[in-house]
Amino acid sequence: MSPTATAWRAGWSRGLIELRQSFTNGADLFGHFLWPVLMLVTTYFLRNVSFGQSGLSLGALALPGILGMNAGMSMVSMSQHLTADREDGTLLRAKATPHGMTGYLLGKIILVAGGLVADLAIFLVPGMFLVPGLAFGDAGAWLTVLWVLVLGLVATLPLGAVLGSVFVSARSQGLIQLPVLGLIAISGIFYPITALPEWVQWIAQAFPVYWLGLGMRSALLPDAAAAVEIGASWRPVETAGVLVAWAVLGLLTAPFLLRRMARGESGSSVAARREKALQRI
């Protein structure tokens, strides 16, 4: 087997090992359950609040949106993983191993994507019983969920890698969270976007989070619910277009930035960052 093929296989098993680890220790399990449970509580309280004349409950509108939001959040978690791994030397270890970076990145993608699917299930399975009126029985609906999810990950994971290689410290990673949370607030996840001023709608439409939410709603809500969307349509073509555009942008820039970041890694750069981190405490 060629070295590259070996590295791909090693990366695959690396992802699975880390995925297993993240479900067998307390801190990570807490992380996996916190958001889904918070979101379930939110959905529970929204389940009987109806939105305008649409006849739909806010809960039914929010649940698919939350799925989309979670998919978008995997960008943040990819970025955080990269930063943490750079800080503790995991990345340098990958660099010191032949084809180690290939294995490392593949492992990270499997870890983040696999973790996301698990998180979505933790939220979705109880959610299905909580909120009536969603098209869970329809195979076509699941197919749409699948393509939106896959395309969404292809769009957001490279972006996460870009952010992770640009923002060096764990502290600056915290700063990424703020704009992302702001973006989620204006992206029509918990409340239809058409209720917001038009200029805010334009900002939201520039980013993948809105489209991930829209795509999920298009899959799980009845067709009539499209009435509360922009242009009273699910706009699947635009959804795919925007996500593909972000995916291309991410895939074009991520390898370059990752390479640049990896080039700067050495024992003393890891040590210097730790020194700095310790001084802050």
């Binding site: 090693a10 503790d88 030397g89 010191a96 032949p98 180690g100 890891v270 040590a271």
Partner: protein, 296 residues
């Protein structure tokens, strides 16, 4: 050291950060199977040198060849032949000892040859570094010394031709340090692996290295075996004697010669003769002092 293949070849290496030169003109070679120690006070440029050789840092000027390749352009195949043990790793804390060693070994499987099996079997390596009892422990639960020995195991897992050890015993207690020294000596005894290690601990250098290079102020101020280094410094042996009830003391490089002359001249009049050899410590301190004075 019957073969004379040059594994490390460094000529005129310079490193400059902004206006300051960290390395001025570092030149040395190491041959296959040699254990070479880069000794120097903190801030002498040891880590910078080793990081350039590891291919983790770009140099400002000079020629560097590691296993016949410029490390700045070393590809993955070159990487597979080099083992790296850094000053302190904290990575992979959630992984278990055997799990990570087996995982990292997989990347080297493609580099096995007919004569050299790669990687090392994880269990064998774990036993060699004395971590059999901890094989199933999570890495973050290892003590400082265990962690360091584990890092050496990782550095060796691909059976590298050349291993870099950067301050391998810094922060270890005496027992862990001794266990570590035994591990390095065992590896050196096999004679196939070239080892370059840095330390500011003279006793460690003396114990482990075939050859010591003293780096100070960005320059190699001495290069040789322990005996050669001790010899290199002038006037360091101290000779004391008594004659006619009077005490004498003199420093000399050629202490044997001095003693011979004394006896030739005074014969049995010489009493209480004492010759104190320059210790490597004296040599080292005097080297560093000289280098610092020259820099002023």
């Amino acid at each position: 050291m019957t073969t004379s293949e040059v594994v490390l070849d460094v000529e005129g290496l310079r490193m400059r950060y902004g206006p300051a030169d960290v390395l001025h003109d570092v030149t040395f070679r190491a041959r296959r199977g040699e254990v070479v120690c880069l000794l120097g006070p903190n801030g002498a440029g040891k880590t910078t040198t080793i990081e350039i050789l590891e291919g983790f840092r770009m140099r400002s000027a000079g020629r560097v060849e590691v296993l016949g390749t410029d490390p700045a352009r070393g590809g993955e195949d070159w990487r597979a032949r080099v083992g790296v043990v850094l000053q302190s790793w904290r990575d992979h804390g959630k992984w278990r000892v055997r799990e990570l060693l087996e995982h990292l070994g997989r990347y080297y499987a493609a580099y096995a040859t007919e004569t050299v099996a790669r990687p090392w079997r994880a269990d064998r390596l774990i036993a060699a570094v004395g971590l059999t009892e901890q094989a199933e422990h999570k890495i973050r639960t290892l003590s400082g010394g265990q962690r360091r020995r584990f890092d050496v195991a990782v550095g060796l897992v691909g059976r590298p031709e050349l291993v870099f050890l950067d301050e391998p015993t810094a922060g270890l207690d005496p027992v862990a340090r001794r266990a570590f020294h035994e591990l390095v000596l065992e590896l050196a005894a096999e004679g196939d692996t070239t080892i370059l290690l840095t330390t500011h601990d003279l006793a460690e250098a003396e114990k482990l290295a075939d050859r010591i290079m003293v780096l100070d102020g960005g320059r190699i101020v001495a290069d040789g075996t322990v005996a050669q280094l001790a010899h290199q410094i002038a006037g360091e042996d101290e000779v004391r004697w008594t004659r006619d009830g009077q005490r004498f003391a003199r420093s000399a490089t050629e202490s044997t010669r001095l003693v011979f002359d004394l006896f030739k001249r005074y014969g049995e009049e010489i009493e209480d003769l004492e010759v104190r050899r320059a210790s490597l410590e004296d040599t080292y301190l005097s080297l560093v002092r000289q280098a610092e004075e020259a820099a002023r």
